[in-house]
């Protein structure tokens, strides 16, 4: 059974790639600089964040505060963009799905991978910005592939669930736009983890929030040159694969039904 899965995936891998290129092309079509925007856009964004957050008081609390925010923001935007894309993916491709057989998971997966490619461009932009900062590059930077990969797996799983929910209930979209905002405030994107640690309920939520783990993990490696301990790594792995398996399970259960709702 697993073998046939892999075979179909192989067959549709080219489709997956084509859909991603399609999205990239459409995003930058009609612009003179084209694909260069995917690099220029995050650089400009970071310069703005840098300018704004250098002036804020939080700077005294956190080492390299602007970069701290930029990294948090970049990772969170990926999560937000990818999950929103995945949410609409199945409904958005319904016309196609009703006419020809294509494995349905291709659509949410494609949206998440597309956002991930945008994230990689942003990371390149971060590196460029970094060259103008007084930060010693550390070998731990190479390890960022670990939190990036784990975040990707987590996001795919979560995207599967959203895609299913949205195909049954269209108002999930409005609900999710609020949820994702709340989620951002409950993730230490612009504030340090220490300021919420002792608040009773919120502190607990922030602490259990998977994104807190990935973002902190990432910053430790990238910004502070430290390697998170084994427990932290295992917790991140557990979150990722837990969500991935749950998402796959929900999607598989629902995929024969939601075609009737599209």
């Amino acid at each position: 059974m697993i073998k046939t899965y892999i075979q179909t995936f192989q067959k549709y891998r080219y489709l997956l790639g084509n859909l991603i290129t399609r999205d990239l092309k459409i995003k930058y079509r009609r612009s003179v600089l084209g694909l260069l925007w995917s690099l220029l856009n995050p650089i400009l964004m970071m310069l703005l964040l840098d300018a704004v957050f250098s002036m804020l008081i939080g700077a005294s609390e956190i080492e390299n505060y602007p970069l701290y925010v930029i990294l948090g923001q970049t990772l969170f935007s990926f999560f937000s963009e990818a999950t929103n894309g995945a949410l609409e993916s199945v409904v958005g491709s319904s016309a196609l799905m009703k006419k020809i057989y294509v494995p349905k998971y291709v659509f949410p997966l494609e949206k998440v991978l597309y956002s991930f490619i945008n994230l990689l461009f942003s990371m390149l932009a971060v590196l460029i910005v970094l060259m103008f900062k007084p930060i010693a590059a550390s070998f731990t930077m190479f390890l960022i592939v670990i939190p990036l990969g784990l975040l990707l797996i987590f996001t795919i799983g979560f995207g599967f669930i959203l895609a299913v929910l949205y195909s049954f209930f269209r108002d999930i979209k409005h609900l999710y736009s609020v949820l994702i905002l709340a989620w951002m405030y409950l993730t230490p994107v612009i504030y340090p983890l220490s300021i919420v640690e002792n608040t009773p309920v919120v502190g607990l939520i922030v602490k259990f929030n998977p994104l807190t783990w990935y973002i902190t993990y990432f910053r430790d490696l990238f910004l502070y040159g430290t390697i998170p301990n084994l427990t932290t790594t295992l917790i991140c792995i557990a979150y990722s694969f837990g969500m991935f398996i749950l998402g796959l399970f929900v999607f598989r259960k629902a995929q024969d039904k939601f075609i009737l709702h599209l």
Partner: protein, 245 residues
Amino acid sequence: MSSNDVIIVDNVTMRFRINNEKVDSIKEFLIRIVKRSLTYRSFNALEDISINIKKGEVFGIIGLNGSGKSTLLKVISGIYKPTKGTSTAFGTISPLIELGAGFEDELTARENIFLNGSILGYSKNFMLGVLDEIVDFSELHEFLDVPIKNFSSGMRARLGFAIATVIKPEILIVDEVLSVGDYRFQEKSEKRITELFDGETTVIIVSHTLRQIERLCTRVLWLEDGKEVMCGPTTEVCKAYKTQN
């Protein structure tokens, strides 16, 4: 069941649940659960359908609107999973339904050819090999790098047709679209379709115009309200169908 059956539909029942009103918001859903008015009307779009189609057969499906023809095609193509029973197809299925499904307006014809090819499950190398043939057949040479949002509907249909028929698929599904484009292209596309009917490709045709079916098919299934009324040689079934309708 013999070894050269390419499509085996075994006791397929397809049940749809139709909400009396369409419930697609959570609010609606919850209110209805509380009021206990979440009622469904279920009906069988297909009921106990069994067919075996052999390699190279041209198989027709006839029936009135809403008799389950398109649902059966969707079950065979794997789009719908039957409520009961199984449907197995051995070989690649290429649907000729609604040409150009999956075209992206902003992309050029060339980009769309590759995108569409990959939706049909073809590899990049394969598409590179047949690109010229597609362009020749659709006669869109000078528009190859034009975004297809600037295409006329006829041009889009020509492109869709050329992609769908560029190879001889093992199983071809034709849903009421034997002819597209202007008169000249219609002749050309009919010729292309009949070329496919040479014994290698298994063809399933759905139509409510009997003339086409009589002309092309070897065997016909007659559906009514999701049930099989008759299945057999074309002349027999068509004769019975005509006397009833």
